[in-house]
Symmetry: C2
Subunit: 378 residues, 2 copies
């Protein structure tokens, strides 16, 4: 089980400092959670992940169910041993991934609406490639075409075999273009699945409920009221929070007020560098984001002076580190010129180096924000 | 400059134990040299390379001249600082790469003859994409199409800017199907280029001459006689040594006898695991091979029980390390199942992990062979 203690509350914002204790150690919050979807941080062997100061990882139930299958993981004694990660670990329920296979693929979009699509998803619509029922989702494995079924019972059973410290309830992540009638139906389903997820748990792992409701305050309020009334150990915030940064910050603020102050809150799948201050100010304790490693693999370094596109030849003349203010081993050992050379020479270690720096940058940034809360300046 | 001392000679073979001292530290020989063609070991950041026990790296003059250019490297104070490698370093002259662009590409072959091509290269033949003159080779940059010229003078000038501890003379590596008339002409050219390489050197870096001569004992003898009469600091053995392992071992034995015993010998670009014992028994002090990292990236692990293809699903059931007899950090931390999962999930850290293990395996194997020479059993 986990234990969460808020050690300081900001007087200027909803920000809070805390300690999340798990069977695999304590996490100082607010904290960024590294995304290890397939039991690996992309381009970084696990001992490098430890060296970035990452406190906590999140793996994905849907992906690990498909490959290598939870039985392989269980044979190792769980995910911690399978991936050789000795620190705290979360597993996402797979809800988001199942739905991104469905409407996400049909409409060619993620959880954020990009572009100008106004096509509505109406009540009782079904995506082309899967069938959503009250019990869960039937879909074909993208690996081998097998017919698979994932619902709250199945997700919790898999997550228990994976054995992370924190599990998430199975939810539906509706597409950003869902009409209110669809959202209503989806939200009711997610709330029923939350209860069923709790009922399915037989292990001592922590379980977080997920608040949905899209960009509608009324639905978010209702979802928060229903989900926080259930005996979850913490709460996740899923789905769309508005298409722009200002709306997102406002939505997160609402959520911060709706959630019980004594339990930990996790923001699912969000966190560009420019979002982080707002996330922390809204009172989130943890958030996970592929941004540091996704951008890292594509050559974009996050630095105290902003983003640098390390694929650009101009950096071949630059003997400075990625970020002269960063103390990570990549900034200690390597120049911008060397890293740019590696990208241009198509050496995959380039991806590892910038991913390492970016994860270190995120962890350092969060450590500074924690310090600011401690000092009373945030 | 370098200093080489043979500390023990085997009574059973030509094998010898030695210390090669360089401005960046001592190398215990016989030793494997890691191939960092573009100033990087593929898929392994430099601090991981150190952790594999690798004593010495070799970079490539041709590749680094094209990308990022020696001026970028020199701005960092040389290759050691550019790539953050504090140990001894060699640079190959670029001869092999220029010729693999030429006849190698025309005939679709490397330095070893594979398949059944019997097409001869005759005296005065020129490859399609470059022009060989007595001064060197004119070719088009595969990067941007610029017309470039590389000869002994140019190669040494670049290698001096790169600043490795050991340089190699510019040579021609003739294709394995070269007729004897072509080989004769090519060998004379390589011998003239050897003298010109020596004359071009103005730095205190060591310079190795390269013995060519293909698979013909008479030509190898002549080449060794001419090259070893020149004041080189050591000798490289280049080119084809016969198409099969037995011929190669016999050829290497001949070479071991032809080279002066007090100077270090380096075998260029050869070293499958099953070749290594023969290489050491023939009295070679160092050899470089892409095999550990090339095979590693393709999922093949070298172990005390032979090769394992880690892409095979059978290993998903196997919780043992890659090699239970190996003490490297990959074998300490990860199971075969996890590594196979990473390959099947297309995680690039899989390539890093097996490359790390394979390089460690090579270094451990060489350490054992040195121990055997020390104990008088090899």
């Amino acid at each position: 089980m986990i234990h969460f203690r808020v050690t300081k509350r900001s007087k200027q914002s909803r920000a809070r400092l805390g300690i999340l204790s798990t069977p695999h150690g304590d996490i100082e919050t607010p904290a960024v959670v590294g995304v290890a979807t397939q039991a690996a941080i992309k381009a970084l062997p696990m001992d490098d992940v430890v060296a970035t100061g990452t406190q906590l990882l999140i793996c994905n139930t849907f992906h690990l169910h498909l490959k290598p299958g939870e039985a392989v993981v269980k044979k190792h004694g769980g995910l911690h041993r399978f991936m050789h990660w000795k620190r705290p670990l979360m597993t996402d329920s797979g809800g988001f991934q199942v739905f991104s296979l469905g409407f996400g693929r049909d409409l060619n979009m993620g959880k954020i609406l990009k572009g100008t699509s106004r096509e509505k998803v109406r009540a009782h619509d079904q995506p082309q490639s899967l069938t959503i029922t009250d019990r869960g989702v039937r879909f074909r494995s993208p690996v081998d075409g097998r017919s698979l079924f994932l619902g709250p019972k199945e997700s919790i059973a898999i997550q228990q075999k994976l054995g992370a410290d924190v599990m998430f309830a199975f939810d539906e992540c509706p597409p950003p273009v869902a009409g209110t009638a669809y959202l209503r139906q989806s939200l009711d389903r997610t709330h029923r699945w939350a209860e069923q997820s709790l009922a399915a748990r037989t292990s001592r792992q922590a379980l977080y409920g997920i608040v949905q409701g899209g960009k509608y305050l009324k639905l978010r309020e209702e979802s928060a009221r229903i989900i926080t009334a259930l005996p979850f150990d913490g709460f996740g915030i899923g789905g769309e929070l508005g298409g722009d940064k200002t709306t997102m910050a406002r939505m997160l603020g609402w959520m911060g007020d709706l959630l019980p102050p004594e339990k930990p809150r996790h923001l699912l799948g969000t966190g560009h560098p420019e979002d982080i201050l707002g996330i922390v100010r809204a009172g989130m304790d943890t958030f996970d984001s592929i941004t540091p490693t996704h951008y890292g693999r594509h050559g974009v370094a996050f630095t105290s002076a902003g983003r640098l596109d390390m694929k650009k030849s101009i950096f071949l003349k630059d003997t400075r580190p990625l970020d002269p203010k960063c103390g990570c081993k990549v900034c200690r050992d390597h120049s911008r010129a060397y890293i740019t050379h590696l990208f241009r020479a198509k050496e995959i270690s380039a991806m590892s180096l910038v991913s390492f720096h970016n994860l270190s940058f995120y962890n350092d940034y969060l450590a500074h924000l924690r310090q600011d809360i401690r000092k009373g300046v945030l």
